[in-house]
């Protein structure tokens, strides 16, 4: 049998190994550099409105960067764009959505992992998983069909005329619903990971199960829960389709009125898309740059807070 193995078979194997390793490495390098490409291309294209000149009618224009960042009106012909107010609106809407979603998610997670009977917990976990799997376009549809009608009627009670229900409040509600599954699932995992030891110690000291849950379990799981919140915030900041369907298309701002229409960075990129070239198209890439910066910035800040908390 040994005679059948060719002498240079081993050398060939090593050579093949090297080639394959090289191929796989190249592929991996490509996958990793996607993020670089993304940032690069968006940056290059999004810088154009501030650097190149566009022809509108007879004249050539540029967009002023400072006015872009601090502007309170989205578009004034021919070359004034402002996203300052949009950034504020985006943070406002996401902040409110988080204020609703975080408590609901944490309480639901606590219920499922510590309070509910085993079967009920499983059912609710499945419900949350289903909600997590629903695509954003359907949430947008749901927002247009049900949430806006609800807000419209609510506005009537307050004697406020809303634009058919398209409003800040609708956006907040839809976003909250969309990030609750994310935060809940991660919170459930964190709470389940709390050591039995810790819980026994608390009970052995004469604390009630509820006191144990709220004082010890949540505290032990807080790092994981916060990670879930960071993930939820990231998702909310980047959500485009659903938000565009319920936010309205506000031209100027910022606005903090819940019944007014609003505008977020993502809805700006998605709505009003007419041409595929020209200043109006390119400026959306600039908005994209700001969106990426915002998401990274918020992520970074929140991670610092998380580190501070766990000390």
């Amino acid at each position: 049998m040994v005679r059948h193995i060719r002498k240079n078979g081993h050398q060939q194997k090593t050579r093949i190994d090297k080639i394959i390793k090289g191929v796989l490495f190249t592929v991996t390098l490509f996958c990793a550099s996607i993020i670089l490409f993304i940032v690069m291309f968006i940056f290059i294209h999004g810088i154009k409105p501030f650097v190149n000149s566009y022809q509108v009618g007879e004249y050539w224009y540029r967009v002023n960067f400072w006015r872009f960042m601090t502007g309170t009106v989205w578009f004034q012909a021919p070359n004034v764009y402002g996203i300052g107010f949009i950034i504020i609106n985006t943070l406002y809407v996401v902040g409110l959505a988080l204020a609703i979603a975080a408590p609901v998610s944490i309480m639901t997670a606590l219920f499922v992992s510590r309070i509910a009977p085993h079967l009920v917990g499983k059912v609710i976990t499945t419900v949350i998983e289903l909600l997590a799997a629903i695509p954003s376009i359907i949430y947008g549809l749901f927002g247009m069909g049900i949430v806006t009608k609800f807000v419209k009627n609510l506005a009537k009670i307050f004697n406020y005329q809303s634009a058919g229900g398209l409003s800040t409040l609708s956006t907040v509600i839809v976003l909250a619903i969309m990030i609750i599954p994310t935060i809940t699932m991660i919170s459930i995992a964190s709470i389940k990971a709390v050591k039995r030891d810790m819980i026994d110690a608390s009970l052995a000291l004469g604390a009630s199960p509820t006191q144990t849950n709220f004082k010890v379990v949540l505290k032990s799981a807080q790092s994981g829960i916060f990670s879930g919140i960071i993930l939820g915030v990231g998702r909310a900041l980047g959500e485009a389709t659903a938000v565009s369907m319920v936010a309205g298309n506000r031209g100027s701002g910022p606005t903090f009125n819940l019944f007014d229409i609003t505008r977020t960075l993502t809805s700006t990129m998605l709505l009003g898309l007419k041409e595929t070239a020209g200043l109006d198209y390119d400026i959306r890439f600039s908005v994209g740059i700001i969106l990426i910066c915002l998401i990274f910035g918020v992520n970074f800040l929140l991670n610092m807070v998380k580190r501070r908390l766990s000390r």
Binding site: I115, A133, I137, F142, T241
Partner: protein, 392 residues
């Protein structure tokens, strides 16, 4: 005092949990209630755009009016003079129409006007024996139309439509997108996962690569759409002669969205393969590549399957990226180098604009939810099978 506080806190957790259930129930009810009416086989097979026919039946020599026998169908108003049965209906755009439910084989509607059962008639201008003009509109209903028909001798103008509101084009597009994307993304992702887990040294460089792939998951899909628009659309324009967006550019965009997920899921399943397999294979004198492709990969099948299912679920739900990277034009004939809409983008097109079509959108949503549901079920079944074999 403490008991009251405890009870209050417990009640809060109950209420919070029911919020999620409530939302799911309301959402499903909304979608099903609105969409179920349109959900039938023809929705999936017909075109979105309507075909309009404008014909007339005036050549009195070539047809005869007479006694076409009544098939006695329920709800159908029948003209025995012309041999045509009409029924009131509502089309997929929620407008009142009149549908042809029965045509006698020798009816002039069939032989001369060449209409078929299933077509809709929107308007008919007729003249009776004495030359009076009769005008029948679909919005007035089938019964008056048939009554007028019974009086008429010639029909000077028929406007009929067929098809409309179907999602065949979008369904096909979605299928193409899924297949094309998986064909490109799966091999790339699996290769990267294999490299990272089997070949790479666990050093700082590999750590950086992993982090970069991880960061990509935090980027919202609309950004990927932007990248697709400025990178893949021009690339495809040059190579496969598309103009503007195409299914191909969409598939490439979806590929870069899915790569991190595929890599992560595949790596997880590679981690689960016991090291003893690798040791045994190498000890038998097999090379690293042989070990990887003959021993490791076949055992990672479940992980790759999971990655596939997750990708399918993600592709079906993706909207923002495709709006930029492909476009929003609903088409009936679909080709890889042309624009089209996936199911999700179809909904976006229907709901944007002046007349949002809730019913059709909800019907499409039902289909999307069913597929997403099946995918989730699949993933769960796979993980349960894996756990069972591991426990053994």
């Amino acid at each position: 005092m403490r008991k009251i506080k405890d009870l209050f806190l417990n009640v809060i957790t109950y209420v919070s949990s029911s919020f999620g259930c409530l939302v799911l129930i309301i959402l499903l009810l909304f979608v099903f209630k609105n969409g179920i009416r349109l959900l039938d086989w023809s929705l999936i097979t017909s075109d979105y755009h309507q075909k309009t026919y404008q014909v007339n039946i005036t050549d009195t020599k070539n047809y005869h009016l007479g006694d076409y026998s009544d098939p006695q169908l329920d709800g159908v108003y029948y003209s025995s003079v012309w041999g045509i049965g009409l029924q009131d209906d509502i089309d997929r755009n929620n407008e009142k129409i009149v549908t042809i439910r029965y045509l006698a084989p020798l009816s002039p509607f069939a032989t001369i006007a060449k209409l078929e059962v299933g077509y809709q008639i929107s308007k008919m201008t007729m003249a009776d024996e004495m030359g009076n003009n009769l005008l029948a509109l679909a919005k007035n209903g089938a019964e008056p139309m048939v009554a007028d028909l019974d009086e008429a001798k010639i029909i000077t103008d028929i406007i009929a439509t067929s098809g409309g509101g179907g999602i065949r084009g979008s369904l096909l597009t979605t299928l193409y997108l899924i297949v094309l994307t998986l064909v490109i993304a799966l091999p790339l992702g699996i290769c990267a996962a294999i490299y990272l887990h089997e070949f790479a040294k666990q050093n700082q460089f590999t750590h950086i690569i992993r982090t970069m792939i991880d960061i990509t998951t935090g980027i919202p899909s609309i950004i990927f759409g932007l990248v697709g628009a400025i990178v893949f659309i021009p690339m495809m324009n040059k190579t496969i002669q598309s103009s503007g967006g195409s299914i191909a550019s969409g598939a490439l965009t979806l590929t870069i969205i899915l790569l991190p997920t595929i890599i992560k899921t595949t790596e997880e399943s590679l981690k689960a393969i016991p090291n003893s397999y690798r040791m045994a294979s190498l000890a038998l004198g097999a090379s690293k590549s042989q070990t990887t492709f003959k021993v490791i990969l076949p055992n990672a099948v479940f992980g790759i399957l999971t990655a596939t299912l997750l990708s399918i679920g993600r592709i079906i739900g993706e909207s923002a990226a495709l709006i930029y990277a492909v476009g929003t034009a609903i088409k009936d004939s679909v080709a890889i180098n042309e624009k089209s809409t996936s199911l999700a983008v179809h909904i976006w097109s229907l709901m944007g604009g002046e007349n949002p079509n809730y019913e059709l959108s909800c019907a499409i949503s039902i289909i999307i939810l069913l597929i997403v549901g099946l995918v989730s079920l699949g993933v769960k079944l796979i993980s349960r099978t894996i756990n069972k074999t591991e426990v053994k």
